[in-house]
Symmetry: C2
Subunit: 67 residues, 2 copies
């Protein structure tokens, strides 16, 4: 199985596990639509920072709002 | 092995195979840095459109320049 774990960089700069067994990832406007192998979705105001498919790892970060 | 094939949507709207056995993907400014399992890189002015990790499929599209 080639699904990935999605990690979110928190305010302290550390990676938190956000969503497991993610199959589909689709950027949509300023959002990221994540879907796991069970068809469950999470939509968040984030962007992809980096991913390594061989390591089953996708790192995302929240989109900073202009101040 | 969980690497993916990266497809680029061409001007005719069809998907062309761009890069095989891609492990790492990293957006950087307006560009996308792709790296395959052999460490070879391709950098292009593109963005991720959608991906399905279970299908080993990543679809990217060129970033449109303002006219």
């Amino acid at each position: 199985m080639c699904e990935a774990n999605v990690y979110l960089i928190n305010e302290a700069g550390k990676e938190e596990l956000l969503f497991e067994l993610v199959d589909k990832i689709r950027p949509e406007n300023e959002k990221l639509v994540l879907e796991n192998i069970f068809g469950q979705q999470k939509i968040l105001s984030a962007q992809i920072k980096e991913m390594s498919l061989a390591s089953h790892r996708v790192v995302v970060e929240m989109v900073k709002k202009p101040e």
